[in-house]
Amino acid sequence: MISLAGKDILHGWGRFILTAAGLGLLIGVTLSMAGIYRGMVDDANVLLDNSGADLWVVQQGTIGPWAEPSTIPDDLYRSVLSIDGVERASNVVYLTMQVRHGERGIRAMVTGVAPGRRQSDPGQPRFLVAGRTMTAGHYEAIADVSSGLDVGDLVTIRRNRYRVVGLTRRMVSSSGDPMIFIPLRDAQQAQSLKDSDAIVQQRHRREGNPAFNPPGVPGLLDAVNADDASSSAVNAVLVRLKPGASPELAGSAIERWLRLEAYGRAEMQSILVEKLIATSARQIAMFLVILSVVSAAIVAFIIYTMTMSKIREIAVLKLLGTRNRVIASMILQQALGLGLIGFVVGKIAATLWAPFFPKYVLLIPGDAARGFLLVMAICVVASLLAIRAALMVDPAEAIGG
C-alpha cells in the first residue's frame, strides 16, 4: 500500500515545509524557554560548584549570603578553622552592583576574596583562562569572560579603579551576572563606603553629640570616626572539610558553638533553586505551558484545515472503499510529519540563536527528547479533531444530488 500521507506531503511540499517551519520556530521558542530555565539552574549550580566549598557559614537566622543579607565579623573564620573536620575557611564578600568600564556599565557580582591564596581554596576564582591570580592587596581584579573585559582593562568599582589581571570562565552569579573578584579589603570597603557629604554630615553630628565628644576625652571622637570608615564585616565564610568529615557534624558544631548558620551543598542548592530563582522558574513554566497549548492549538488548526481542504477527496476515497483506519492513518502521519519537521527546525533554530541570548541558555539532550515526545503527543491529540471530521464525511458527498 502506498503512503497516502507521504504522497500528499510531496505533492504540496512547499506549503507543508513552510507550515512546518513556522511551527518549528514556535517549538524553537519553547525549547529556548526550557533552555533559559536550565541555564538559570545551571548558573546556580555553577556558583556553588565553583566556590569549592562544602559548607557556607552565614549570619545566624539568615539564608545568606545570596538569598538574604548576611553580615559576620571577618575574624570568625579563625574560630571556624578550629571546628573539628574543617580543613580550610575563607572570608568572602558578595556585592551585586554596577561596575564601569569606560563609558560602559556592567552588571556584575563583585566578590571579595583574600588575594595570594591557592586557587583551590574555597571562594577563590577558578578556571583561569587568561592572565594570573591576584597577588597585590589592592586594586587588582579577575573578571569572568562573559563581562566582556580583557586582561589589562581598568574597571571602576565605587570610587576605585581596578586593573584586570586575569580572566575566568563560567564564574557567574545565580542570576547569570559575571563575577568580578577583587581583594577582600577593597570589597569590605566598597560594601560600607559612604559618599563624602554623608561622612562630613555624620562627623558634624557626632561632634555635637556629647556621648561621642565628651569634654575631657579628646581621642574618643577620632576613634569613633576611624571605626566608621573601616569595615570588618564579611558576608560569609566558605568552608572546605577534611576528606571523610561529615558536613552535618561540622555544620551543627559551627551552629552550636559559634552561633552562626551553616548550610551544606544540598541546602544551599535548595535555597538557590527553590527560593532565589523559584519565581522566575514558575514564570518560565507558565510560558512553557502557554506555548505548549498555543503549539497544540496551531497544530490542530493546521491539520484540521489541511483535512478540510481534502473533504471531497476523502469522500471519494471512502466511496471507493477506503477503510477509516487508512484515512485516519493518513491524517495522523501528516500531523506527525508536521511535528517531526517542526521539531527539527525548532531544535536547529534554538541551537543557533541560544548564544545570542544575554543569559546562559542550556539546551540539554534530555529536554530535547522530552520536547520531541511532547510535540509528537501534541500532534497526535491535535489530529484527533481532524480525524473525527474526516471519519464523519459521508461517502455520498462524492455522488451528486
Binding site: M1, I2, L10, H11, L319, L320, R323, G400, G401
Partner: protein, 245 residues
C-alpha cells in the same frame, strides 16, 4: 447462477418516519446484463440520486432485493458484512467530475483500488497500466491529474472504475461538463469497456445528446421506474474522443 450484472426488485427508500416520511423510491425494478450500458433518466427530484446511492451501497434501502453478479447483496437488509469492501470490489464509480486524487499520479490513482483490496503495489500497478492502455491513456501514467486534459482525466476516472473488474459500474452524469463530441466519446468508451470487461453500466443522465445512444432506458419519476427501448444509435467515435484532448 443468473447471468446478471445488477438486478433490483421492488426497491424502496423512505426518508424520515410518521407523517413527515418521504418515499423517495416506491418499488423500483431494474436489471442490467454484463456488457450492457443502460441509461437512467428522470427530472430533478425524481429519485435518481437516491437510487444511485442505494445501488452504490452508500445508503441503505428500506426494502427490496438487490443482486450484483447474481449474488444477493440486499434482501430487506444488507447481506454483505463489509459495505466498503463491497463498493471496492463489486462496484465501479464514475462521477460528473473525474474526482481524481490530486496528490497521486495517474497510475496510482488507478492502482489505489487493488492496493486497498490488499494486492501488492507492483501487481496493482501492472493491472492499472493494462486498463490505462485499454483506454489509450497509458502514456500519461506518471502525470499528475492537474497535468491532464479534461478528457484524459475522465478516461483515468473510467480506468479507476474498471480496474477491479467490478460486475457493475455506476456513472453519475459523466458527460455533463462535456461538449457533444466528447460526451459521445465517453459513452463510446463506456460501451467498449462494458463489453471488454463484461461489466453492467448504468449511466444516470439528463444529457439529451447521449440519450439516443442507449439501447435500453429506465425512466424514473416519483420514485418509480419504467423501462423503454432506446434508439441505440452509435453516434460516437471512441477513437476521436481518445485522441482529442
Amino acid at each position: 447462477m443468473e447471468r446478471t450484472g445488477i438486478a433490483i426488485e421492488q426497491l424502496t427508500k423512505r426518508y424520515g418516519s410518521g407523517q413527515t416520511a418521504v418515499d423517495a423510491l416506491k418499488g423500483v425494478d431494474l436489471s442490467v446484463e454484463p456488457g450492457e450500458v443502460v441509461g437512467l433518466v428522470g427530472p430533478s427530484g425524481s429519485g435518481k440520486s437516491t437510487l444511485l446511492k442505494c445501488l452504490g451501497a452508500v445508503i441503505e434501502p428500506s426494502s427490496g432485493v438487490m443482486k450484483i453478479g447474481g449474488s444477493p447483496i440486499y434482501d430487506n437488509r444488507w447481506l454483505a458484512g463489509d459495505l466498503r469492501a463491497l463498493r471496492r470490489d463489486k462496484i465501479g464509480f464514475v462521477f460528473q467530475a473525474p474526482y481524481l486524487i490530486p496528490f497521486l499520479d495517474v497510475i496510482d490513482n488507478v492502482a489505489l483500488l487493488p492496493m486497498l483490496a490488499g494486492e501488492r503495489n507492483g501487481a496493482s500497478r501492472e493491472r492499472a497500466l493494462a486498463v490505462l492502455e485499454a483506454l489509450d491513456v497509458a502514456h500519461r501514467a506518471r502525470a499528475m491529474p492537474s497535468q491532464l486534459s479534461g478528457g484524459e482525466q475522465q478516461r483515468v476516472a473510467i480506468a479507476r472504475a474498471l480496474v477491479n473488474r467490478p460486475p457493475v459500474v455506476l456513472a453519475d452524469e459523466p458527460t455533463a461538463p462535456l461538449d457533444s463530441k466528447r460526451a459521445l466519446g465517453v459513452i463510446g468508451l463506456l460501451n467498449d469497456m462494458a463489453r471488454q470487461y463484461e461489466t453492467a453500466v448504468i449511466v444516470v443522465t439528463h444529457d439529451e445528446k447521449i440519450i439516443p445512444t442507449f439501447k435500453r432506458i429506465y425512466h424514473i419519476r416519483d420514485g418509480r421506474t419504467h423501462e423503454e427501448a432506446g434508439e441505440g444509435k452509435a453516434l460516437y467515435e471512441t477513437a476521436d474522443y481518445c485522441s482529442g484532448h
